[in-house]
């Protein structure tokens, strides 16, 4: 397959992600602006970090007075999952050059992973991944810029309602993956409640990290191997 065809295939398959990213990017920009970020700082964060969940978490934590260290540690823990996703993507791509590894690394997101995971082998290639990243990264940065510039034009009712956008995104990613396993549902509820309880004794930013790690540790022994729906992302083969 020609490289340009593969690239355009990647662009086309990623187009629906724009619809998911725009409201979340705008919500991020509005929240960041309320937390005291300037427009430059808002756009810089999206351009540099390109990890929506951790960016919204970061501005949420900052709004409640968290320290820089706790935000950075929470970001690291939250984005550890990219290690698994990146391993899977790299395995699907086969041999890649150092330049290709370096340039695609920052485009490894939940969405790119989900798309690659549902693509046939003959279509999977570095240009295809570049096509996906062009759309996902582009819409994330453009959506953030849009949000940063229109944040004061957004009526209060919409900006309040936008606060639910990221939670709705998390829920819609989480629910389909756990709904078939009573063990995973129990683990998720256990972790959420643990987080709420820990949040009463330690700062909520650290409670998130602690409950996430304790929950996963409990899950290693509690969740049966066959319920682990992300098995296909397994590294060790």
């Amino acid at each position: 397959m020609k490289k340009s065809t593969a690239y355009l295939n990647g662009v086309r398959v990623a187009l629906p992600v724009i619809l998911g990213y725009l409201p979340v990017a705008i919500a991020f920009a509005v929240m960041a602006s309320e937390a005291g970020f300037s427009r430059l700082e808002i756009i810089a964060m999206s351009t540099l970090v390109f990890a929506g969940a951790s960016q919204i978490m970061a501005v949420g934590m900052i709004a409640t007075g968290a320290s820089m260290l706790s935000v950075v540690v929470a970001t690291f823990v939250l984005n550890l999952r990219h290690f698994i996703m990146g391993s899977y993507i790299m395995k699907r791509l086969g041999k890649t050059s150092t330049i290709e590894k370096l340039t695609t690394a920052n485009g490894i997101t939940d969405e790119a992973f989900a798309i690659i995971g549902t693509t046939e082998d003959e279509k999977c290639s570095v240009p295809y991944l570049f096509g996906i990243i062009t759309v996902t990264y582009g819409s994330w940065v453009v959506g953030t810029a849009l949000g940063a510039f229109v944040s004061m034009l957004i009526p209060a009712s919409l900006s309040d309602a936008l606060g639910i956008a990221l939670y709705a995104l998390f829920i819609s990613l989480l629910v389909p993956k756990i709904k078939r396993s009573a063990h995973l549902i129990t683990l998720v509820i256990f972790t959420a409640l643990l987080n709420a309880v820990l949040g009463l004794i330690i700062p909520s930013s650290w409670a998130i990290i602690a409950s996430c790690l304790i929950g996963a540790l409990v899950g290693v022994f509690f969740v049966p191997d066959e319920d682990d729906a992300s098995k296909e992302t397994e590294v060790a083969k």
């Binding site: 970090v49 935000v71 950075v72 990146g86 009712s157 919409l158 939670y167």
Partner: protein, 101 residues
Amino acid sequence: MNFLLLSVFMMLVTFIPRILPGFLLDKVRLGPRATKFLNLIPYTAMASLIFPGVLSVDVERIWIGALGAIIAIVLSLFKKIPTAVVVIASVLALVGIYAII
């Protein structure tokens, strides 16, 4: 806090797990327990991120966040409804609720 510096640190810690697989994949073998632990992190991380944070969407009326979460959960149970629609529908539902209260 310097937000630009924060962004740079966040980029670095996000870049580590993103870049390592490409270079380590052939050299490192994770044991089954470590793999399972990492596989479970997305579930537990999202659980911790959703609750109780979702209740503070509106700190004065915690039922608004709870209602938004329930709407998102119900919509997510339908296989045919894409993520984007769940997000937009949840936002619009809350816009509607703010319009009537």
